[in-house]
Subunit: 164 residues, 2 copies
């Protein structure tokens, strides 16, 4: 960044965490990989998204990127908002022609929040037994719930028929 006024950088990016997160978010192909996993048979979309997302956390290279983004977002509210903007618009562009409506955003948001929490518990908080569970077991534990969120059947209670 030689020759660039640091005050100008701060004006646009606010802080080091935001600058870093912007750079990483601009370069990673993670949004495209996640959107691609949503294509295909709707009956197995939950398993595909779960495998793909948790699989990105299993690979050391992509785990480093995800960890860096999480650290930026938790230490800087501005980085969190920027990430949401950059990654959100990348997802919208990738899903172009088939842009999600508010209802779909709500379902994807709930599914994403769940997957994110599982990844955080396993890889960041090191929460037992999630941190030692085999990857395939973890996927099979979580995928049915992700399928329910994505297909809007998550309100069903046990031993009851669909509420809507």
């Amino acid at each position: 960044l030689a020759g660039v006024d640091p005050a100008l950088i701060r004006h646009f990016f606010g802080d080091k965490a935001t600058l870093f997160a912007t750079t990483v978010a601009d370069r990673t192909t993670i949004p495209e990989i996640l959107v691609a996993s949503l294509q295909g048979d709707p009956d197995t979309v939950g398993a595909r998204l779960t495998e793909t997302y948790l699989g990105l956390w299993e690979e050391p290279e992509t785990r480093r990127v995800l960890l860096a983004l999480v650290r930026s977002a938790t230490t800087s509210p501005r980085a969190a908002v920027m990430l949401q903007d950059v990654l959100g618009s990348r997802i919208r562009v990738t899903a172009a022609g088939n842009p999600p409506d508010n209802e779909q955003m709500r379902r994807v948001g709930l599914a994403g929040a769940h997957l994110f929490g599982v990844a955080m518990a396993r890889h960041v908080m090191q929460l037992s037994p999630l941190n030692t569970m085999a990857y395939a077991t973890l996927v099979s534990e979580v995928a049915p719930t992700i399928q329910r969120y994505l297909t809007d059947t998550h309100h069903e209670s046990i031993n009851r028929t669909r509420r809507r």
Copy 2:
């Protein structure tokens, strides 16, 4: 900490994030509040835990504590392990007489990871639409899934009967 050798502090606590997290974790009553919500009618335990946990994030005072613990855990792996130890043992002591087995730990872990992810998406990552959803709506969206995890009915697929 006047008169205390900084090297001694580092030996026991590793870094500032861990020292801070240890202090906060020792003083908060959040583990006791969460364990208390698990008591009572098993048919509504999912709603009680969801309301209680997400409610702690709605209150500015407890949100500050939770945010501080999350920041410590994401910036320092040592703080994450320490938090898991301290809060885990606090939960085990509180639940004494009724200590959870491995199977229950797995279910509570999945439920907890889900709730944690929702709180992170809403309060840290500011993920739309979770960040603007009414608290009561959010609880009603998430509680059925937490109920399924806690009662081990989360493997059920849509339009299928219980697998076990």
